[in-house]
């Protein structure tokens, strides 16, 4: 099978701190794979190991069927990347910065520079010094450097950083187009689940250096928790009535009853009738679906303030 990225038990230790451990990833051709984690989860360390900038302490990585070795010239001709904040030579113009990037990828045609400037919407800034660019345009320049030589594999670390909403949509469309039309594979690191869920086909969740879960975007929907929230004037009586009828309810700190069993989620009307008959009519009945943020925080063991009383 053609796997642009494959790692086996990859890990990195800095002194006593283990930044990444036991990471075994397989990213398929033409796929947008999102690597999701909080700050410091090990996303950037992983990308740097995959790019041969950092030597792994354990395991190995293959990128485009080539074993990654720090300092090697392979397989970088077909790899583009944007790692952390994009930095450019401040005193060079946008055009010159891209010309530098082009010359670091021998075989890239001189016209590629103007083409990518046009594509990334930087035409108005081509002759401006990179040091004068806004955050958003600096990000565009970083992306332009990554895309300049038409790579088959892209590593993008927080590509939406600094972009305005229109820019985010534009980059999303661009990446989708590259994967669909040119079979480019994208490895994306981000800490915003809502953003990557619109783009990626597969998501790997990394926390404290460990891959917690890998899932297809469709599974995301199924895994998100739903709950029924109830309010009544006498909460304790309502809870008792529900418990007697076989519906376990938890009392939350904010004075709401929470039911998570499938029966009550599918028939909230039954619950309402039950409470009316028991003489504690509900003042509020609400079926709430966990949002992506809460889902993500629950996965990494931070339940996002949903504390039980």
């Amino acid at each position: 099978m053609n796997l642009p990225i494959e790692t086996v038990d990859l890990g990195k230790r800095y002194g006593k701190v283990i930044a990444v451990k036991h990471l075994s990833l397989r990213v398929a051709q033409g796929e947008i794979y999102a690597f999701l984690g909080l700050n410091g989860a090990g996303k950037t360390t992983t990308i740097r190991m995959l790019l041969g900038m950092i030597k792994p302490t354990w395991g190995s990585a293959q990128v485009l069927q080539t074993r990654v070795r720090p300092g090697s010239r392979e397989p970088w001709a077909a790899v583009g990347y944007l790692v952390e904040t994009p930095h450019s030579y401040q005193e060079l113009t946008v055009f010159e910065n891209l010309e530098v990037a082009r010359r670091l990828h021998p075989g890239t045609a001189p016209e590629a520079v103007s083409r990518i400037i046009e594509r990334m919407g930087l035409a108005a800034y081509a002759d401006r010094r990179a040091g004068t660019l806004s955050l958003g345009n600096a990000q565009r320049l970083g992306l332009a450097k990554a895309l300049l030589h038409a790579p088959r594999l892209l590593f993008l670390d927080e590509p939406a950083n600094g972009l305005d909403p229109a820019g985010i949509v534009e980059i999303r469309e661009l990446l989708l187009e590259l994967t669909r039309e040119q079979g480019v594979t994208v490895f994306l690191a981000s800490h915003i689940l809502a953003e990557v869920s619109r783009l990626a086909q597969r998501i790997g969740i990394i926390h404290q250096g460990c891959l917690l879960q890998e899932l297809d975007v469709d599974e995301l929907e199924q895994n998100r928790r739903r709950r029924l929230l109830l309010r009544a004037r006498d909460l304790e009586a309502a809870r008792l009535a529900l418990a007697t009828a076989g519906y376990p309810a938890a009392l939350l700190r904010d004075g709401t009853l929470e039911l998570t069993d499938l029966r009550s989620l599918e028939h909230p009307d039954d619950i309402a009738s039950l409470l009316v008959q028991a003489g504690v009519p509900p003042t509020q009945v609400l079926v709430e679906e966990e949002d992506l943020e809460q889902y993500f925080l629950r996965l990494v063991g931070m339940n996002g303030g949903q504390n039980h009383a």
Binding site: G52, H87, Y89, L92, E99, V100, A101, L104, P106, K145
Partner: protein
């Protein structure tokens, strides 16, 4: 070869677009004018005193308004002051990639890191040589304007050779500063080492071991010129220092984890 040409183009473009050529050229011009000013005073001591250029107590013994003395001073100036500017240059060319966060764009590319480093060293050497030539030419003009005496062909030839050899020794001597800039990921470590070398150089010189201290060798060479010769070991030590600087820089770029 194509990769090296490209890498040299990149380094030249970065250098010429920055303010460093201006700063280093200004540094060398100040040096040239400083020396010329000194020669002017030697040539016209009474005039200099009368218009208040120097104090009445100024000690002018030991100097003379001759080409030989002037060119000798020039060699020493390169070895003592020039070396500081060359170190600055070396630290900037290498350290800036770390300080500006641009290093990562040089690492996962289909051009060997050795090629990128070689281009950087070539540009530093070229730049240093150009500064030396500029210093020499400006000094010749200023010397002629002042009207220095005893300008025989032999004096010029000898002075030129001393300056050229001193400059080459200095250029090789500062290669380790590329390593210090890389390990320190910026400019602070090379600056610290520069101070340390200044202090150590003085201590070593007082102890009489200066000929075995590679960073003191160019100054000793320039000072001794015409009066004696350094041992072969001194030149060898400079060469070893330079090679160690090249090797250390390469090994660091090749094998160290790059987190910037």
């Amino acid at each position: 070869m194509r990769d090296l040409t490209n890498a040299v183009w990149i380094e030249l473009r970065k250098a010429t677009r920055s303010r460093m050529p201006l700063f280093t050229a200004l540094g060398f011009l100040v040096l040239a004018f400083g020396l010329a000013f000194l020669m002017f005073i030697y040539k016209y001591p009474t005039f200099a005193r009368s218009i208040g250029l120097i104090s009445a107590k100024a000690n002018l013994a030991g100097g003379a308004a001759t080409w030989q003395y002037y060119l000798g001073l020039l060699g020493q100036a390169i070895a003592v002051v020039g070396i500081l500017l060359f170190r600055l240059l070396e630290s900037w060319v290498f350290g800036r990639e770390f300080a500006d966060g641009t290093l990562k764009d040089l690492l996962a590319v289909p051009v060997a890191r050795a090629t990128i480093l070689l281009a950087k060293f070539l540009v530093v050497v070229l730049w240093s040589l150009l500064l030396t030539v500029m210093l020499f030419l400006v000094s010749l003009l200023l010397g002629a304007a002042i009207g220095l005496s005893q300008g025989t062909t032999e004096v010029f030839w000898h002075g030129t050779m001393t300056l050229a050899v001193a400059a080459c020794l200095v250029i090789v001597d500062v290669f380790p500063f590329a390593f210090f800039a890389s390990v320190g990921r910026g400019y602070l470590l090379p600056m610290g080492v520069t101070l340390l070398v200044l202090v150590l150089g003085n201590v070593v010189a007082i102890a009489g071991w200066g000929t075995y201290f590679p960073w003191a060798v160019p100054a000793l060479y320039a000072e001794l010129t015409g009066k004696g010769n350094l041992e072969a070991a001194s030149y060898l030590l400079v060469l070893i220092t330079g090679l160690a600087g090249l090797a250390g820089t390469y090994l660091w770029w090749r094998f160290a984890d790059q987190n910037r």
